[in-house]
Subunit: 212 residues, 2 copies
DNA sequence: AATTGTGAACCTCTTCACAGCT
DNA sequence: AGCTGTGAAGAGGTTCACAATT
């Protein structure tokens, strides 16, 4: 069985959002060319990406918007609700508690942890903040699927280790540091500093990068 | 002159952060192997990345931490201050106004815009929020280098168009939608939904992805 | 002995191009 | 005629392996 590349998964996520938009607009059918145009890729790329999982289109006609959305949703596991825990209720953590794109796609932040006594016990955006001391116990009890780590860099590895002890298999890390996890645990990094520094690089070396 | 890949630039950004950390710890010298280990890549990859820009190490000895940090800083344009404008002072915008990783690396958010009358005129984290109506005029007057777009998806393309009119050449977009920019303008996307959906995919298809 | 810098080999992802279906 | 699905070709990024240096 073939492995699927990160790039393909990222694009599927984008196609999925485009299809939701199109469904909302009442568009019934879409071609690979059109879907590609909405996402800044080539039509061949769209077809290749989809062909990893089956044949969802009809030659000569294109893809049915509702069906393709439903199929990509199933492929990506977006046809169910995921239990999400948030670790670290700082600036970024608070923003994520109220982030539409998580909520609307089935990612429900049901638990939040912090070690600041001033925050523990408070309810923010409908989620009550718990004491980080109980992290392992609580993520196990709540059967958390995915943890979002938004603690300072120096604390991130230890929080992740404890999440793993609590049985969490998927982690989204916002701390600007590499984290080690055992086999079978998935970790993804979201580092906003990297992207803005990439812009700094582009402005500094316009001859070394291609703009759109 | 060779083009530099996004992956290389992203890794340089990571090496840079590692070197800052090492410098803080008083570490004088680092090998490609060590730098690689801190960032989850191979030693050959580190050397190849650096070799795009010159020969910074000494055979048999490794790299001087302070010198390499300084060199990467120059390459990435992190040895200067960038003027950053924020568009959209919602949950994410507010979090970014107080984001350490921006501030400490020379990205100074000096202007913020919103169209909500309740926000205009207020000062948040030391930045006063201006009326979005004056966007083009103000980014031009303030000589903004980089704009961060944190407005809803439906407003993002139009805000970007106006930023371009105002002369902004680099944009960091948080709206979950593809944005078109003219040649010579750099845009990077930060989409947290994509990464969490990638985790959803991994949990749903453990056989199709490799964990660490 | 340790470690860099780098051409060559390797591998992976993207694009091409066309047969096949509507 | 229009559009998908896909093997083959092409492009690009990563790893190997070793000469060069300390």
């Amino acid at each position: 069985m073939q492995r699927i590349s990160d790039s393909t998964v990222h694009r599927l996520s984008k196609y999925f959002r485009t299809l939701i938009y199109m469904q909302g607009k009442g568009i019934k059918t879409v071609s690979s060319k059109n879907l590609a145009h909405h996402n800044g890729v080539t039509a061949a790329q769209v077809r290749k990406d989809l062909s990893c999982f089956g044949a969802f289109g009809r030659r000569g006609l294109g893809y049915n918007v509702v069906d393709l959305r439903s199929n990509i949703g199933k492929i990506m596991g977006l046809d169910r609700a995921w239990k999400v825990a948030l670790c670290g209720v700082g600036n970024i953590g608070r923003a994520l508690l109220d982030y539409d794109q998580f909520r609307s796609q089935g990612f429900q932040i049901t638990v939040a942890f912090d070690k600041d006594p001033a925050k523990i016990g408070k309810t923010i955006h409908g989620v009550s903040v718990r004491n980080e001391i109980d992290l392992e116990r609580d993520v196990k009890a709540e059967k958390v699927d995915i943890a979002v780590v938004a603690v300072p860099a120096r604390a991130a590895q230890s929080i992740v280790d404890r999440l793993v002890v609590g049985g969490v298999k998927a982690i989204l890390n916002f701390a600007p540091i590499n984290i080690k996890v055992p086999p079978g645990v998935y970790i993804r990094h979201e580092n906003m500093a990297i992207e803005i520094e990439t812009l700094s690089f582009a402005l500094t070396n316009p001859d070394l990068v291609q703009s759109e």
